[in-house]
Symmetry: C3
Subunit: 305 residues, 3 copies
Amino acid sequence: MFKGRDIISIRDFSRKEIDYLLRVAKKVEETPEDRLKVLQGKIMGSLFFEPSTRTRLSFEVAMKKLGGEVVGFSEPALTSIKKGETLADTIRVVENYVDVIVLRHPLEGSARMAADYASIPIINAGSGAEEHPTQAFLDLYTIYKEKGRIDGLNIGILGDLRYGRTVHSLTYALSLYNDITLYLISPEQLKMRREVLENIRDKLKFKEMLNVEKALPELDVLYVTRIQKERFPDLSEYERVKGTYRITLSTLKKAKKDLILMHPLPRVDEVDVEVDKTSHAVYFKQVKYGLITRMALLGLVLGVF
Amino acid sequence: MFKGRDIISIRDFSRKEIDYLLRVAKKVEETPEDRLKVLQGKIMGSLFFEPSTRTRLSFEVAMKKLGGEVVGFSEPALTSIKKGETLADTIRVVENYVDVIVLRHPLEGSARMAADYASIPIINAGSGAEEHPTQAFLDLYTIYKEKGRIDGLNIGILGDLRYGRTVHSLTYALSLYNDITLYLISPEQLKMRREVLENIRDKLKFKEMLNVEKALPELDVLYVTRIQKERFPDLSEYERVKGTYRITLSTLKKAKKDLILMHPLPRVDEVDVEVDKTSHAVYFKQVKYGLITRMALLGLVLGVF
Amino acid sequence: MFKGRDIISIRDFSRKEIDYLLRVAKKVEETPEDRLKVLQGKIMGSLFFEPSTRTRLSFEVAMKKLGGEVVGFSEPALTSIKKGETLADTIRVVENYVDVIVLRHPLEGSARMAADYASIPIINAGSGAEEHPTQAFLDLYTIYKEKGRIDGLNIGILGDLRYGRTVHSLTYALSLYNDITLYLISPEQLKMRREVLENIRDKLKFKEMLNVEKALPELDVLYVTRIQKERFPDLSEYERVKGTYRITLSTLKKAKKDLILMHPLPRVDEVDVEVDKTSHAVYFKQVKYGLITRMALLGLVLGVF
């Protein structure tokens, strides 16, 4: 189902396929010692045309925990791109060295294009503002593990819904599940894009709102993202709204006892550190789940799971 | 024959030695599974004082495919050179950590100097404009594999023959073989250096020419290199000649059916992408052959082949 | 004694603990082949928020020689710090990936703070101008191996005693041993800090002096450090003194035959290269001892030694 497959966009996957991935991840998590050498002799190319330490380390550790090896680079300055080589040529060179390529690239469409040229699997680790499919997989795995299910939940997504690729991938993924209500909470300027809403309109219920208070008592999951100052043409407007999108102990008073609070990280101050100690906070667990999801994915595309 | 030896210049090797290397490479290529752990416990130092992603990845993968490990750096900004340390001291530090050093350095003579100080083998991965011996080995291996022999071939080298270190190393290497005719095709400003011609004059036939058309029907191998704009004091002169040194489907119409087209990569536009699909194009295969040649070399200098 | 422990400051260790570490290091050095796989399946996070090639390679090789794996970064430009993440959050992310973290950070107190947040061992690979505990361990191991003991020696420390973290850590460490006389040799502006002297006053004898000549015949060990031009407000003052702190063959004429000359490296010109060939010079051996000490330390904190 996954062997030899490119992982470019969450939209390439059916619910059945995603559920299968989640089950494999669960097995990997439960029996890590069985996995130590399954990818021995395999090499992953880790091609980061823009820096992303967290994602890069997650993939590299995933590969190594399965017994595989890693080569690559962590920022564009280190590549021969400077000499004018096309991405297509770079891919056709590197595919001679490795068994799978993990690609992070600033341009939309880059991962799809790489996959067109490569004869080995390409895993998209973020391409432009567009897609970050493995983040969506790990977000789903986090919900599945922490809530026991994905169907039927009330899920809030808060922050920058307009520019956040994480948020778009997650929204598409959730639209594959049943009976979900999505609470889309953002400032006016950062509302979810029309085309995403059109796409999910028939698949799940959603409500757009400007602040989190009213929705909070209903939520099973609250997914927080950062709001970047630079998105606001008028800085005073930013200063006016930013407090509203900051989660503190006081914000959480009205939350369900078993609400889980997620965040793709890095955070700046949109979740107060005091919240870290509450049972709501699962964002550091999310990191661990990310590692497991990527182990599952690497094992699957390389045909050992 | 190779154990413990430094690999600094192609000119340090006899035909007998090179042929031995090519035979070992062929064995490595034919039985990769036998090689998986021969360098287990060995560590390669990958010291790139200027970035060269392709060469670095090739060596690192070669080491890992033999079961060895790699440490190092990929550009000078990351080194303590900034603190004023000499290359000699850096080498004497790193030789305490590793079993073999792969060195890329912008200065001519640097690799030879490093070898003088080190008690472990140094492999030159490019020093200044001077030498790039492993590129020459892989070029020979490509010809040997694709044509079945090196002796007796008509070989064209096209592009910048004046500044290209790849081209100088290859020319010296070919002068060790019998009955080769070399077609040296370049603009007037970028003709092969006098001292190289003096050196090979008694060893092989060569013809210098300004364009490829006339020679093409004779060639068994055409080795294309990039012509850099910066080499021309007068840009209009560059604009005038550049088309002449670009290989397209139309250029190849007069070629032998089994002509092979080589390129050290990266290419910019000196070989049209349409050519990639023809059976002439072996430049991406060259990448694979480079990996194999470097596996053979690492195994040889570390004494396991 | 060391399992699961953070290695933050040399001052956290008793003489008994340090001696134990030195004995383990000796065993590692004598039976390297026994150690090849003890850390198989373990991963070290190598987080260098400022570049330090020597220290980074030393730790990475140490880990690999024990069969472990490494992930990380080698300079801050490559991290998500740029996105405003706190060190605490970075540590809480990375501890999900790895078994031990080696941290180099420009700020004093950073390693201690990281240890407060992490549930896995943190090894300080240099924090600010403050501490570099593994350098002190390797310096002690060098003395122990080369002189057979540490107690009872006359030890000179020459150069920048005011700003050198290496020198501070070593001084504290030596104060745990018996019957040592310390000769603190530096220009007036770079004398050892008052607070360090207060701390060691009751534990060992020390003499402060402006030049090395008078002390030299007494010394068993001379530890040389670099004097940086930038430390002198008045450059002419620097030019006047610098010759005094340079060790040459001629300086060493009055030395004991078995004096050992140490240096944390990199050196610029404070030890003349002619000295390298004498039996006094042990600074490149120090590099090897550093590797062994770090192997011992990694094995100890990860509980396999």
